[in-house]
Symmetry: C2
């Protein structure tokens, strides 16, 4: 009697799962949550809509997995950027990394940072923002401790910086990547805001 799952079959299933995740990620990045309908995901992945349910219990779980994957990668990149240097350097590194990646695919950044959708996914978005904030909070806290920066509420200042970057880069007020002055301006803004003496440079 058949059938034990054979490596070949397993590979096909894995590939299918990956295809579905990629399709969902692409649709999210291009059209946001609304454009990421199960029918569209299935079509893009080259499977029937029912097949998606062999891999995920439903839309929320699928999108959550896409989120998790993107978020963990982005957070890694930012953490690495903030690995060395003094407080000001770390903060600027986070900022630049964040900014460059956001400008590269604004729609995706928007989906990750802003577009609200579902409580579970909002929770993941919160993690995402919090991760950035925490990296900055750490840098500021260190800077305050060693006298590089004046005393301040590091977490609140970090949150404000995340908001400032989001707004200036991908918010409705963003003029887009056109202006080459954007990133330098934001760096100066950030250095001033945290009270760094490097701000005048």
């Amino acid at each position: 009697m058949a059938y034990r799952r054979t490596p070949r079959v397993q590979a096909r299933l894995d590939a299918q799962r990956v295809a579905i995740l990629q399709a969902a990620a692409a649709l999210l990045a291009e059209q946001g949550y609304a454009g990421c309908s199960m029918a569209a995901v299935a079509a893009r992945a080259g499977v029937a809509s029912g097949t998606v349910y062999n891999h995920f219990t439903g839309k929320v779980e699928l999108v959550a997995e896409v989120f998790r994957s993107i978020v963990s990668h982005e957070v890694d990149v930012v953490r690495q950027a903030a690995a060395t240097g003094d407080a000001a350097e770390c903060t600027v590194a986070v900022l630049e990394t964040f900014a460059r990646r956001a400008l590269k695919s604004p729609r995706r950044a928007y989906v990750l940072l802003v577009e609200p959708v579902d409580p579970l996914i909002d929770e993941l978005r919160l993690e995402f923002r919090r991760a950035f904030r925490d990296v900055i909070t750490d840098a500021i806290t260190r800077g305050v401790a060693n006298g590089e920066l004046p005393p301040q509420n590091a977490a609140l200042v970090a949150a404000a910086l995340v908001g400032a970057l989001g707004e200036a880069l991908i918010g409705p007020l963003a003029t887009g990547a056109e202006d080459p002055d954007t990133i330098p301006t934001l760096i100066q803004f950030t250095l001033r805001a945290i009270g760094s003496s490097h701000a005048d440079a």
Copy 2:
């Protein structure tokens, strides 16, 4: 043969229209766009769902009118707050006004500032944010012109400040109104960010 619209009837219709707008505004502030269903609006206004369509062509037009009314009022309030003083004072005044009002009804602030919904309404939200940004931009520009502030890209800095406030006050990272330190911290943040010499106060 009847019937010319009599003043009494006109008054009833006007009152009905106002009731519908108030119901929609209340539902928006309490539950956001999703909770603001036409059925709920009609029920709260004490009319049948069909009646709403005697006043508005559809949900988008109804919500747009609610938005317009709130936005124009909020913008007036902020403009007035920024009417006098030097650049730093104006900026702080905008910030404080914005912050206090946002903290008073966070859900409403969220709907006004963030929740995306429909292209037409997003356009109104953009106006809203832009209005705040422009008030701040003006203040900074004046400050730069008269030497009170160092040279900077006023519009971009203003956008970043709007984002910073939004995030720190009503964004997913906001801890809420609990912390009495929030507003002073944000004031200092803002003064530093624009390079004001008042920042050390």
